[in-house]
C-alpha cells in the first residue's frame, strides 16, 4: 500500500478498534436498512408482510453471520476477540472466587519458589561478570593431581602476561583479605576487606571509575613504590558519605599511608561471587598485606596466591588459548622443576570457573529441581481444576460449537482464562519470590560469620523477573492447553441432551488420572528430598566433632594490622600466651592459626614421608595443616593417642617436630607407628620434621569425612594471624574483659577480631547454616504435599458429585455403604498406589543425585522412605476418604432429583 493509503486507512482501523460500539451500531443500522428495503420489495411483488420478511431474512442468510464477515474484513479481529475473551474469562472467574483465589495462590507458590531458587543458581553460576563484554573474560588456573583450581604465583603471572599472545590483557588479583583501615592516623584500625590487583586490572576489565581513575601499569611495577588505593562504591558511601573530595585523601591501611586515587562505579561491586571488596590496592604493595611471613611474594614461584583472569583477543578461540597455556605450563615445569613439578594450567570459561571452584552451586541446582516439582504439582492441580470446570461447562461449549464457533476460537477462549490465571499467579509469584530471596539475604549474617564485606548474591533482578514471566506463560499453557483441547472435543449430541451426563469413557478420564498420579509422585519426591536433606545434615551433626566445644572463648589477632614484623609478632604471642595462662578464671589457653570448623582456609603442607619413593609424576604429597602452641590439645580436649603434644622446649632452635592425626598416620604407615618417623618438607631432600605425636582425628574443615592433618608448633612455623582459645570454668564471655586488659598491656592499638564463644561459632556453622537449607527444602516439601492433598481431595469430591445420580441409584438398589466406599475409593487407591511407586522411583533417583552432588550418606537411606511413604499414603487416603464417606451418605431420593 502506498503511503497515502496508510494515512487514510489507519484512522479507519483505529476507529474500528476504539469506537467499536459506534461502528457496531452503524453496521446494524446499515443492514437493517437493507433488510427493510428488501421486505418492501417483497410486499411490492405481492407477498404478505410476514412472507416478505421471511423471504428477505432467508435471502440475507442470517444477519449475524453477515456482520461477522464484515467484522472479519476489519483486520483487527484477533485483538477484539482477545478483549472479548478476557472480559468473559474475568466474569466467569469472578463467579467462582474461591477457586480463582486457590488457583492463583498455588500458581504463585510454584512460580515464586522456582524463581527464587533460580535466582540462586543465577547468582552462583550464570550471572555474567559486571564488566563490558563479559563473554570473553576467562579464568586461568594452575592444575595438579589433587586440585583442578589452584592459583598462580606472582612470577608465574608475569610470565603468563608477557609470554602469551591469545589475550588482549591478563590481570591478577589476590583474595579479599582483612585489612586494618583507619581514616585518620591515631585512631584504632577497623577491619575492612581489601583486594590486591594488578596495575592493568581496571583497564583490561573495562571498568570506568566513577571518580578519579583506576591504577596505571607503572603504579604496579616497583614493589612498595606507589601506595595508591581505589575505593569500592559501597565503602565510599559508608565511610566517606559519598564525599567527592575523598580523592587525594590519605588513609591508613595496615598502618601504611595510602592515597585515594579513584572510586569504582556502582555497576562494579567486584568480580567475586560473595565478596564485595571495600578497596583495591596494587600488587606491588603486597608487603604491607603479605599473608605469609615465610614466603617472598614477589620471588617465590611457590607462593601461589593470585587468581588470574584474561580477556581473549578477538578471533582467538578457547582451544587455542588452552593449548598455548598448556605449552607454557610445560615450559615452567622444565625451567622450574621444584616449583612446578607435574603442574599444568588450564583456561576456564566463567561457567566452568564457577562450577569447578566449589560446590555451593550444587545446592542451588537441587533447590531448583525441587521448586520445579512444586510448580509442576501446582500446575497439575490447576489443570485438574480447569478440567473439572470445563466439564461442567460442557453444555455451554457444545452450544457454542453448534452455533458455528471454530474449535480454535474456543480453545483460544479457554486458554485466555488460564492465561489470566497464570498472569495473576505470576504477579503474586514475583512477590513470593521476592519474599523468599529477602528472607535468604537476611540470613547472611549466619552464612558469613566474618568482618569482611560478604553478601548473598541472590537478587530479584531483571533476569530473575524474566524467568518469572516465562514460567507464568509456561504454566498457563501447561494448565490450560490440555483441558481446552479435551473439552472442545465434545460429543455434541450427548452434551446437549442432558446437563450432567458424564459418560465414563476411558479416554476422557485418562487425563485426570495422569494428573493425580503426577501430583502424588511429585509430592512424594519432594517429601523424600526434604527428609533426606534434613537427615543428611543431622547425621553429620550428631556425629560428634572429636573435640570439646563448651566453655570456650575465641578471639583472633593479626599483628600485621599494626605493622608488627615477624619478631614482634612472635614476641606478642609468647607474652599473650604466658599472661593468659596466669589470668584467673582461665583454665587453659591455646593458640591456633585456624579454629576447627571455622570459615577460614587451612594452610597446606607439601611433604615426602619417610621411606616413600615418589612416583615420577609427583614431587610430594599434600595435607592440610594448622599451626598451634603447646596448650592446644589440652584446651580443645583432643586426646593424644601416641607420643606427646608440643612442649615449650620445641623452639626455633630445636629440631623440627610435627604432630599428625590418626587418619594421617594410618594413611602413610598403616602397619607401623608414625611416632619417630619423619616427613621431609617439599621434597625427599627437604628439611626433615620428626613426628612426635599422633592425635585423635577431629572434624577440622567441615562435618564431612575426616582428612589427613598435620600440626606444627608456632615457635617453629611462625604465622601472623592466630586465634586465642581460652577454656573457662563458667561462662566463656566473662573472659572477654580480662583478655582485653592483657592485650592492652601489650599494645593499645591491636584490635581483637571475631570475639565470641566457640559454641556460638559451631552452632552457626553446623546448625543455623544448614537449618536455612532445611527450612527451604522443608517448606517446598510441605507445599508440595499440601498441594497434592488439595488436588486429590478436589478430584475425589468432583468425581463423587459427578456420579451422585449413579451412586444414588446404587444405594436405592440396596448397595451397602461399604460397597459405595469401595466403588469411590477404589479408583483413588489405585491412582495413589501408582503415584507412590512412581514417586519412589523418582525419589530414589534424586537421592542418588544428591549423594553424588552433595553429601554422600552412602547407599540408600531406608528410614527416609520408611517414614515418608506411609505418611504420604495416609494423608492422601484421608483426602480421598472424606468425600467418599460423604458419598455413602447420599440420600437416594435427593440424588435422583439432582439435576
Amino acid at each position: 500500500m502506498r503511503p497515502q493509503h496508510w494515512l487514510y486507512t489507519i484512522p479507519l482501523r483505529l476507529r474500528s478498534l476504539f469506537r467499536r460500539r459506534n461502528v457496531e451500531q452503524e453496521l446494524s443500522e446499515e443492514l437493517q436498512f437493507h433488510l427493510e428495503h428488501k421486505i418492501e420489495e417483497g410486499t411490492a411483488r405481492g407477498l404478505s408482510p410476514e412472507e416478505a420478511r421471511y423471504a428477505a431474512l432467508r435471502s440475507m442468510g442470517g444477519l449475524e453471520q453477515r456482520k461477522e464477515e464484515i467484522r472479519d474484513m476489519r483486520h483487527i479481529r484477533w485483538l477484539t476477540d482477545f478483549f472479548d475473551d478476557a472480559r468473559f474469562a474475568l466474569r466467569s472467574l469472578r463467579r467462582t472466587p474461591g477457586l480463582t483465589v486457590f488457583v492463583v495462590i498455588t500458581l504463585a507458590l510454584g512460580i515464586g519458589m522456582t524463581s527464587a531458587t533460580f535466582s540462586m543458581v543465577d547468582g552462583l553460576i550464570f550471572r555474567p561478570y559486571p564488566v563490558p563484554h563479559p563473554g570473553n573474560v576467562v579464568s586461568l588456573v594452575s592444575t595438579t593431581h589433587d586440585s583442578p583450581f589452584d592459583r598462580f604465583s606472582y612470577r608465574e603471572y608475569l610470565d603468563i602476561r608477557d609470554k602469551t599472545n591469545s589475550y588482549a590483557g591478563v590481570v591478577a588479583n589476590a583474595g579479599m583479605e582483612a585489612v586494618g583501615f583507619s581514616a585518620e592516623p591515631g585512631t584504632t584500625p577497623r577491619i575492612k576487606g581489601g583486594m590486591m590487583v594488578s596495575g592493568n586490572y581496571f583497564q583490561v576489565l573495562g571498568v570506568e571509575p566513577r571518580l578519579g581513575r583506576g591504577f596505571r601499569e607503572d603504579e604496579d611495577q616497583v614493589p612498595g613504590r606507589n601506595p595508591v588505593v581505589v575505593l569500592g562504591p559501597d565503602f565510599w558511601r559508608h565511610e566517606f558519605a559519598g564525599d567527592e573530595s575523598v580523592l587525594s585523601k590519605t588513609i591508613l591501611l595496615n598502618g601504611t599511608k595510602f592515597t585515594v586515587i579513584g572510586v569504582a562505579p556502582d555497576s562494579f561491586p567486584g568480580m567475586l561471587t560473595f565478596g564485595h571488596p571495600d578497596f583495591y590496592m596494587p600488587l606491588a604493595m603486597a608487603r604491607v598485606f603479605s599473608t605469609n611471613i615465610q614466603m617472598n611474594f614477589f620471588e617465590d614461584r611457590d607462593d601461589r596466591e593470585l587468581r588470574v583472569m584474561a580477556r581473549l583477543k578477538p578471533g582467538v578461540t578457547l582451544e587455542q588459548a588452552r593449548n598455548e597455556l598448556a605449552v607454557l605450563a610445560k615450559n615452567f615445569e622444565r625451567e622450574y622443576p621444584n616449583a612446578n613439578r607435574s603442574r599444568s594450567a588450564a583456561v576456564y570459561t566463567q561457567f566452568q570457573a564457577r562450577t569447578i571452584e566449589d560446590d555451593n552451586w550444587k545446592f542451588g541446582v537441587i533447590f531448583v529441581i525441587l521448586a520445579l516439582a512444586v510448580l509442576l504439582v501446582a500446575c497439575t492441580n490447576v489443570a485438574g481444576l480447569l478440567l473439572s470446570r470445563a466439564r461442567s461447562r460442557a453444555r455451554e461449549i457444545a452450544v457454542r460449537l453448534a452455533l458455528g464457533a471454530g474449535r480454535t476460537r474456543l480453545i483460544r477462549l479457554l486458554l485466555t482464562e488460564s492465561m489470566i490465571l497464570a498472569t495473576l499467579g505470576g504477579l503474586a509469584g514475583i512477590a513470593i519470590g521476592y519474599g523468599i530471596i529477602e528472607w535468604f539475604r537476611s540470613k547472611d549474617s549466619i552464612v558469613f560469620l566474618t568482618e569482611l564485606p560478604m553478601a548473598v548474591p541472590f537478587h530479584m533482578d531483571k533476569r530473575v523477573l524474566l524467568s518469572c514471566v516465562a514460567l507464568s506463560v509456561l504454566s498457563a499453557l501447561l494448565c490450560g492447553l490440555a483441558p481446552a483441547l479435551q473439552s472442545t472435543r465434545v460429543d455434541l449430541v450427548n452434551a446437549l441432551k442432558s446437563a450432567d451426563v458424564d459418560v465414563p469413557g476411558r479416554k476422557r478420564l485418562l487425563g485426570r488420572n495422569v494428573l493425580v498420579v503426577a501430583q502424588v509422585s511429585m509430592s512424594l519426591m519432594l517429601l523424600t528430598a526434604s527428609f533426606l536433606m534434613a537427615r543428611g545434615f543431622q547425621h553429620s551433626l550428631m556425629e560428634g566433632t572429636g573435640f570439646r566445644k563448651d566453655h570456650l572463648l575465641m578471639t583472633s589477632f593479626d599483628p600485621r594490622l599494626i605493622q608488627y614484623n615477624a619478631a614482634q609478632t612472635q614476641q606478642f604471642y609468647k607474652l599473650l600466651a604466658e599472661r593468659m595462662r596466669e589470668t584467673p578464671g582461665v583454665q587453659s589457653e591455646a593458640l591456633t592459626q585456624n579454629v576447627p570448623l571455622g570459615n577460614d582456609d587451612f594452610d597446606g603442607v607439601a611433604f615426602v614421608p619417610d621411606g616413600f619413593q615418589m612416583p615420577p609424576d609427583r614431587a610430594n604429597f599434600n595435607s592440610t595443616m594448622d599451626t598451634i602452641d603447646e596448650g592446644y590439645f589440652a584446651t580443645m580436649g583432643i586426646p593424644i593417642l601416641r607420643g606427646r603434644a608440643f612442649l615449650s622446649s620445641d623452639t626455633a632452635d630445636s629440631p623440627r617436630v610435627a604432630i599428625v592425626n590418626e587418619h594421617f598416620a594410618k594413611h602413610y604407615w598403616p602397619a607401623g607407628d608414625a611416632v619417630g618417623k619423619h616427613i621431609h618438607l617439599d621434597s625427599s631432600a627437604g628439611t626433615p620434621v620428626e613426628i612426635v605425636g599422633v592425635s585423635q582425628t577431629i572434624k577440622n574443615q567441615n562435618m564431612e569425612s575426616p582428612t589427613d592433618f598435620v600440626y606444627m608448633p608456632l615457635a617453629q612455623h611462625p604465622v601472623a594471624r592466630m586465634a586465642l582459645m581460652l577454656r573457662s570454668g563458667g561462662d566463656p564471655l566473662q573472659l572477654v574483659q580480662p583478655v582485653k586488659d592483657v592485650v592492652r598491656t601489650l599494645d593499645l592499638n591491636l584490635p581483637m577480631l571475631q570475639t565470641r564463644s566457640y559454641e556460638d561459632l559451631f552452632l552457626n556453622q553446623a546448625v543455623r547454616g544448614p537449618l536455612i537449607a532445611i527450612d527451604l527444602v522443608g517448606s517446598m516439601g510441605l507445599a508440595g504435599l499440601l498441594l497434592a492433598v488439595a488436588g486429590l481431595y478436589g478430584l475425589m469430591a468432583y468425581n463423587v458429585s459427578r456420579r451422585t445420580r449413579e451412586i444414588g441409584i446404587r444405594i436405592a438398589l440396596g448397595a451397602a455403604s461399604s460397597n459405595v466406599l469401595r466403588l469411590v475409593l477404589g479408583k483413588g487407591l489405585v491412582l495413589v498406589g501408582i503415584g507412590t511407586v512412581v514417586g519412589l522411583a523418582m525419589g530414589f533417583a534424586l537421592e542418588q543425585l544428591m549423594n553424588s552432588m552433595l553429601f554422600d550418606s552412602g547407599g540408600v537411606d531406608i528410614l527416609a522412605y520408611a517414614v515418608v511413604v506411609p505418611t504420604m499414603f495416609l494423608v492422601t487416603m484421608l483426602a480421598a476418604y472424606i468425600p467418599a464417606r460423604r458419598a455413602t451418605k447420599i440420600a437416594p431420593t435427593q440424588a435422583l432429583r439432582y439435576e
Partner: protein, 111 residues
C-alpha cells in the same frame, strides 16, 4: 463463513467502483443499480456486497457518509475517492486486457 473466490471478488470490486464513479449510493441502491444495468444478469447477494463494500472502504478507495434519503431515512452513502478513481482506471484497464485475451482465445477456429 464463505470467502468469495478471488476472481469473483476482483470483478465485484471493479463493478462497485464503476457504479460509485457515476454517483454516490447506499448499499441497497447499489445492488438495484447493478441488477438493472446488467439486465438482471449480475445479481450480487448481500453476503458478498457488504463485505466487499467494507473492504473497499478499508482500502481507502471509497468513503462513506451517513445522509438522508429521499424518504428521509438515514442511510450510509458510499462515494469514490481520488485513490479509488485511480484504482478504477487501473482495474478497468486490466479487465480490458484480460477479456480481450480471453475473447481472442475463444474465437479461435478449429483447424
Amino acid at each position: 463463513m464463505s470467502k468469495p473466490n478471488d476472481l469473483v471478488q476482483g470483478t465485484l470490486d471493479l463493478l462497485l467502483l464503476k457504479i460509485l464513479a457515476l454517483e454516490p449510493l447506499h448499499g441497497w441502491a447499489i445492488s438495484l443499480r447493478l441488477k438493472s444495468i446488467s439486465g438482471d444478469v449480475l445479481q450480487v447477494s448481500e453476503g458478498s456486497l457488504y463485505p466487499a463494500l467494507h473492504k473497499l472502504e478499508q482500502e481507502g478507495w471509497i468513503t462513506a457518509e451517513w445522509k438522508q434519503t429521499e424518504n428521509n431515512r438515514r442511510a450510509k452513502f458510499y462515494s469514490l475517492t481520488y485513490l479509488g478513481k485511480k484504482q478504477l482506471e487501473s482495474e478497468a484497464a486490466n479487465w480490458q486486457r484480460l477479456s480481450s485475451a480471453i475473447s481472442r482465445v475463444i474465437r479461435l477456429e478449429e483447424a
